[in-house]
């Protein structure tokens, strides 16, 4: 672990079709924490983590991961996308998907070897999916599919994880299993940023909360930040003018 903060964001503005979604975000994330990203729909939660990984063009500001731009440290970063973002009819097995987590570390031309397979198996074991390793991914329940993504992220052996709603559409038992895995990762000194939309559980699950609504409303230890006043500011639509102006800006400058 380097002394650098795993994630540092300065004055980040991101726009979809020229309509700003995130506005002037500043953030310094301490290492070894399990962090929940909380906010209403359209607050820019997924946008934030996608922008951190360079999946979206950034309008202004910068993001540094471990003190460096994303491309330099890609192998230290793991990602769990939303479950709906892929085609589950794709002709691959559970094992193949988990092995994809190793691709970043394999160079060109190299195949996943025995070590990679063993690691993938142990990751599947951790999420209790080992018996399903050779199944085609369409033949899994929603919770199992979510756990496949989690296993893939484990196989990435990253120091920093971005997870986009890993609890959506899973049953209570799966949710408990997932959070146990996340805590284990945290205890190993890794940093996790998890987009989450359920307030009561957010309070139990996370060490720190990032309250987001187009910009950072608050970021700090859960006990300090989980206050009625701050939550009201996050969810209370106090930024109607901001979004109204964003709308006007989008209308005035049509997408090219």
């Amino acid at each position: 672990m380097s002394a650098e903060s795993p994630l540092e964001i300065h004055d980040l503005t991101v726009a979809y079709h020229r309509k700003p979604v995130l506005w002037g975000v500043d953030l310094v994330v301490p290492a070894g924490q399990l962090i929940g990203i909380i906010g209403p729909n359209g607050a820019g939660k997924s946008t934030l983590i996608k922008a951190c990984m360079g999946l979206l063009p950034v309008q202004s500001g910068w993001v540094k991961l471990f003190g460096q731009p994303f491309n330099k440290v890609a192998t230290r970063v793991g990602y769990v996308p939303q479950r709906e973002s892929v085609d589950w009819d794709f002709p691959v097995s559970v094992m193949d998907v988990v092995l994809m987590g190793r691709y970043g570390r394999l160079g060109l031309l190299r195949r996943p070897g025995k070590a990679d397979r063993d690691l993938a198996r142990s990751c599947l074991e951790k999420v209790q999916l080992l018996p399903y390793a050779n199944r085609q991914i369409a033949n899994l329940s929603g919770g199992q599919q979510q756990r496949v993504f989690l296993a893939r992220a484990l196989a990435q052996q990253a120091d920093l994880y971005f997870m986009d709603e890993p609890f959506s559409g899973v049953d209570a038992a799966t949710e408990a299993a997932i959070i146990a895995v996340l805590r284990e990762l945290r205890d190993q000194g890794r940093t996790l940023l998890v987009v989450h939309h359920d307030l009561p559980t957010a309070r139990q699950y996370f060490d720190r909360l990032l309250l987001l609504n187009m910009n950072v409303v608050a970021f700090g230890p859960t006990a300090d930040v989980y206050t009625p006043e701050l939550l009201q500011r996050t969810y209370g639509g106090r930024l109607t003018i901001l979004s109204e102006v964003a709308q006007a800006l989008g209308a005035q400058e049509p997408p090219r």
């Binding site: 503005t13 002037g24 500043d26 187009m214």
Partner: protein
């Protein structure tokens, strides 16, 4: 921003597109002979003579070709509109290729080009094809695009097998069945025209009768079904009409390109209007224009197949719409962007003038070009250019090398400065953004804030008078008063 003008916009738009329509038709009419000249020379036929024959309707072939292309353009444009708004363009493509085996079987019925037999055969093949596409997507893991491509190419291959077999037959060689591949409008006969007319009339009637249902199901099928509309039947009915339109167009356009006659005119119309009924009307007109110009070009250069010429005609219409559409066209957008950028530049100049004036505690007589250039860190020539732009728009006057605000210019300058500072204050106070981050945003926002948003901002900020950097925010009274730096009145000191 200026609600008073809104009611007239619809009118302006309507007039604009009528005007463009005129230009389009004129363009086609002018372009057609010019292009024909080239082709005519190529095949060594005197095109002027042929053109006279075409437009004087001397013989039946010409009349049939013309009527046929009008009917097909009308029906394809009409039904194609729904294909485009329902995002089913590629269904039309699959449908049109899938009819080929049906054409061949219809031909085999009594070894002649009997329009009715071919119509029935092709309809059946087309509908079986589309049914297969939905069966494959329903019962397998193949996605719709793969299913469409699969049915399209397979049916086409079966059709080619049949066509090449027919051509081996003793009578097959003279059958003209190969004309169904690329189309030949000159091959249309009286029976074909009757069938085309009947299908077009039925399509027109049904679309008018079920317009409301078509509109609702195209926009939001789920809601339409929930509100009791027979969305499924509307869909099947539309597919049936589409198949019929494709089949009657086959003889003139050919199997390969008939889908373009569905999609391209409708897509061109889609660029010109925001209402479905206008879209349908325009698409039909464009279809007719493309059909007639294709038939004409093919007539003056007889060895050329009609279908590709009609398609190129339709694409030409689309290209014109792409360039010149009053709201969505490339040129209109470019112009808007350019004028928008010029306006932003003027407003930034005004702002710089205001800043210079403010720095002199509002006492100076005017702003010299040198001061402006220094303020903006630009050359004197740049400052001169910017100053002249202000003068052209009556925002300032220039005497010697000193710029004076006009009342309008001064008002706009104060507004921009006020917008900028209000926005900075709002971002720091209400959105909790650090003061050193807000300037860049405000630089863009100041140009787009409308009066209503400004009022709301002022209310929210309790009519604050000082921005986060400690500078005063111009108030409405100061803005609308005639105080200050104009060439008519001496600048007054601000309180």
């Amino acid at each position: 921003m200026r609600p008073a003008i809104t009611p007239t916009v619809g009118w302006l738009e309507a007039r604009a597109w009528l005007g463009y329509l005129g230009v389009l038709i004129l363009g086609i009419a002018l372009a057609a002979p010019a292009q024909a000249a080239g082709i005519g020379d190529l095949v060594e036929i005197h095109w002027a003579e042929q053109a006279t024959r075409f437009f004087t309707f001397q013989d039946a072939t010409v009349r049939y070709a013309l009527l046929g292309s009008i009917f097909l353009g009308l029906s394809c444009g009409l039904l194609g509109s729904f294909i485009v708004v329902r995002k089913m363009a590629l269904v039309g493509d699959a449908l049109s290729h899938a009819v080929l085996p049906g054409v061949a079987l219809g031909f085999l019925w009594n070894m002649s080009k009997d329009p009715m037999a071919i119509f029935i055969g092709a309809m059946i093949a087309g509908l079986v094809g589309t049914a297969l596409v939905s069966a494959i997507t329903r019962t397998t893991r193949l996605k719709e695009d793969a299913a469409l491509g699969l049915v399209l190419a397979t049916f086409f291959a079966a059709g080619i097998c049949l066509v090449t077999m027919i051509q081996q037959l003793p009578t097959g060689n003279k059958s003209g069945i190969d004309k169904f591949l690329f189309g030949q409008a000159a091959a249309l006969g009286a029976d074909d025209i009757k069938l085309m007319g009947a299908v077009t009339a039925v399509a027109l009637l049904l679309v008018v009768a079920f317009y409301k249902e078509l509109l609702a199901t195209s926009f939001d099928p789920g809601f339409a079904r929930a509100s009791g509309l027979p969305a499924r039947w509307i869909h099947h009915g539309l597919m049936f009409l589409l198949a019929a339109a494709v089949v009657i167009a086959l003889q003139a356009v050919g199997v390969v390109l008939v889908s373009a006659m569905l999609v391209t005119p409708a897509a061109a119309a889609y660029l010109l209007t925001d209402r479905l009924h206008r879209l349908v009307t325009l698409a039909s007109l464009f279809g007719v224009a493309a059909g007639v110009s294709g038939a004409f070009l093919s007539f003056v250069g007889p060895s050329l197949p009609t279908g590709p010429l009609m398609v190129v005609g339709a694409s030409f219409v689309f290209a014109l719409a792409f360039m010149f559409a009053p709201r969505h066209g490339v040129i209109a957008r470019w112009w808007r962007r350019r004028t928008g950028a010029a306006r932003t530049r003027r407003e930034n100049t005004l702002k710089s003038m205001f800043h210079v004036w403010e720095a002199a505690a509002f006492r100076a007589e005017g702003v010299t070009l040198t001061e402006l250039a220094e303020k903006r860190r630009e050359t004197l020539e740049d400052a001169q250019r910017l100053g002249r732009a202000l003068v052209r728009h009556d925002l300032a006057t220039l005497s010697g090398d000193v710029l004076y605000f006009t009342p309008a210019g001064k008002q706009r300058a104060s507004e921009i400065v006020r917008n900028h500072r209000l926005w900075e204050l709002y971002l720091t106070n209400s959105a909790g953004i650090a003061p050193d981050h807000v300037h860049e945003d405000a630089e863009r926002i100041e140009h787009v804030l409308g009066e209503t948003v400004v009022r709301a901002l002022e209310r929210r900020l309790d009519y604050a008078r000082v921005d986060p950097h400690g500078r005063s925010i111009p108030t409405p009274r100061e803005i609308h008063g005639d105080a200050g730096l104009t060439d008519e009145s001496k600048p007054r000191r601000k309180s």
